[in-house]
Symmetry: C2
Subunit: 378 residues, 2 copies
């Protein structure tokens, strides 16, 4: 019988976080591309743009004026997707299949830096630490608000990812409900915690029970580089192209030395090496195709911080503590600065399909320098 | 307390086919758009393009030559995502979390018409009937091949949906596994069939048990237009913007008069009114923003046809018969021919979010003429 070769034979890989599969068709990279190409991101942006609604001191679309901020700056989104309480009660369902759940919450914009022309990849480590401090502060503040059950911090970078302003910024949407994807992840983390026995020397979750992500990261860190999926690793964090990656150069970034339920559990040295890891992988991304690499990034963790007013539950009874902090990077570029992967057709109607293996992607990213290409040009 | 208003209050709607939610934030349509705009699809295409690899008689990338076909034409994809048997056996998993499932199968390209400049919206009803006949033939042929467990027919239309050639065509990917999304839909259809009692006069599935989609379509057809989600309806088919639609002008097209497991169950008059419905909704789509409207379309049905060599199971024991034929249209445009919705950031990391309500979308589509705008210009 034929010997399986992941770089030749189409196959499916299972994502234990979502329960879904991805179809891997590595031989498809040979296909010529005559379709849409992307406009490369402008690389000669000014440090200050008088028309940018995120630059310090400028007026925003809603009419409010930004402070003349000098490091990070957080404000409430002028076009929030969810609105503050009081909200209405649930309306009657016109049919049992047609249900409505009112949602309240708040949306924040988190500006990373006053300079219009920078990105995470071009910020200093101390500046990235300030961004991390703001993520922690937003999660803490919003997560303690009455009625908030979930805080989603994310960044859309690049116009091909629907970002309408290159000024370095991310967002945070806080809601009265746990959204579909993190809810599925939490369910699967919980199932794993209860059903599996700890067999490795990986860190464990609450009550010494196994943690799917601690176990997975621990395994990946031990695989020899040439066969593996690790892109970068420091004392506390590992960045890897997950076994089940959907996007061509998808990365998961997570702490691998101990179970960390949320941003608020991070110790100062872990925050520092978090900043270092963010800097490293965003530089590699930019270097891959010598462009400002577009992506969507999202932070998954405990839905909200532990509330002081809740009774001190046994750790494992508190199902939110099965969460292990991790970041997903979903970048669309596939072949060059202008040729992306489209997740359409088969992907939308059946299941995601990828063209190169996660191992090939990790190898490419490991091969990229970790000094930003713009800093090596004279 | 506040009275719920779906066009003002952010809310979540549940999708019973997938078990997931969509966040509806209708007030977000007021937000100004300064982000990426799309190049409008070329509207002055030649009837024949010597460089098109799908035009009759032309050479393809792989070197093969198209027949000088005069109606539809089907050939095997030169860059197939899955390959024919024999495939390898499953390799050992390096870790229980890292599993691999080899996949075999075949990919077909289904050309709708010899003319390079046409689309479904501009084909005559008899020409669309020929396309439907090819969909039936591909499903029948591939679905009876050894080892094939699922046939996915779909169309990517428009460069913004990753389509690399405007020549009117769709695809069919046939696999040895049921992909994630249809698998979830089938599970939920089956659960509904077994757990629910029939309470309405909707058509029923096998053994007289309720069918989620028959029930849903039956309900929607009965809602007065002004409040409803129906876009178009004829003797057999209804096109509606589902209660749980993700894409701005998403449509589900399905038969509503009887339970129809697959394309092969359609009677001649049902095929005729299927063609009529396809023509009607694709014309409305083009008319909405006066452009060739981009979308991904997918046909969901029984994973494969009933096999003659299988023992005649009781209808409900055959779990694939809980399928009810339906088509999903996922079009990205939101505001104009050049401003799309990006499902990024929050959508990728948390859950889909939409800006106008399904009822508002249906009303807009109902308001569009069903004569193609290019046919009303002089
Ligand atoms: O097969 P095509 O048309 O070359 O490619 C297109 O459709 C495929 C199936 O939906 C996708 O995987 C590709 O990303 C897309 O560009
Ligand atoms: O909020 P923004 O940056 O204006 O908008 C962007 O991010 C949102 C959250 O991911 C998406 O819903 C929008 O489609 C996208 O264009």
């Amino acid at each position: 019988s034929i010997q399986f070769d992941p770089t030749t034979h189409p196959h499916r890989r299972h994502n234990p976080l979502t329960g879904e599969y991805v179809l891997v068709s590595p031989h498809r990279t040979k296909r010529p591309w005559q379709g849409q190409t992307e406009a490369p991101q402008a690389s000669n942006l000014p440090q200050y743009d008088p028309k940018c609604y995120l630059c310090p001191g400028n007026e925003r679309a809603g009419g409010a004026k930004n402070e003349p901020y000098t490091s990070t700056f957080v404000f409430e989104n002028d076009y929030a997707a969810v609105l503050p309480p009081p909200g209405p009660g649930a309306p009657p369902a016109p049919h049992p299949l047609l249900t409505t759940e009112p949602v309240i919450g708040g949306c924040d914009v988190i500006i990373f830096h006053p300079r219009h022309d920078l990105t995470l990849a071009r910020l200093s480590i101390p500046d990235i630490e300030k961004v991390i401090a703001q993520w922690c502060a937003v999660y803490d503040r919003r997560g303690h608000q009455e009625g908030i059950e979930y805080v989603q911090i994310f960044e859309n970078k690049g116009s091909m990812m629907g970002c309408s302003n290159p000024h370095p910024h991310g967002q945070s949407w806080s809601l009265s409900a746990v959204p579909s994807l993190p809810s599925t992840e939490l369910t699967n983390l919980k199932k794993y915690s209860l059903a599996q026995a700890q067999t490795s020397s990986a860190p464990t979750g609450p009550k010494g029970r196994p943690c799917l992500l601690c176990e997975y990261a621990h395994f990946e860190v031990g695989v020899p580089h040439e066969q593996g999926r690790v892109v970068f690793k420091n004392e506390h964090w590992v960045a890897l192209v997950p076994w089940w990656a959907i996007w061509p150069f998808e990365i998961m970034l997570l702490p691998y030395k101990r179970h960390v339920p949320s941003l608020l559990s991070l110790m100062p040295e872990e925050k520092h090496s978090f900043a270092e890891a963010l800097s490293n992988i965003t530089k590699r991304y930019d270097n891959l195709f010598k462009c400002s690499f577009a992506y969507s990034m999202g932070i998954h963790q405990r839905p909200v911080p532990r509330r002081a007013d809740l009774p001190p539950l046994a750790e494992l009874e508190d199902e939110d503590n099965v969460a292990h902090l991790h970041l997903h990077f979903a970048p669309p570029l596939l072949r060059s600065a202008t040729v992306r992967k489209f997740l359409v057709g088969f992907e939308l109607m059946a299941e995601p399909q990828r063209d190169l293996t996660p191992e090939q992607a990790a190898q490419r990213l490991r091969g990229c320098p970790d000094v930003h290409y713009l800093d090596t040009l004279e």
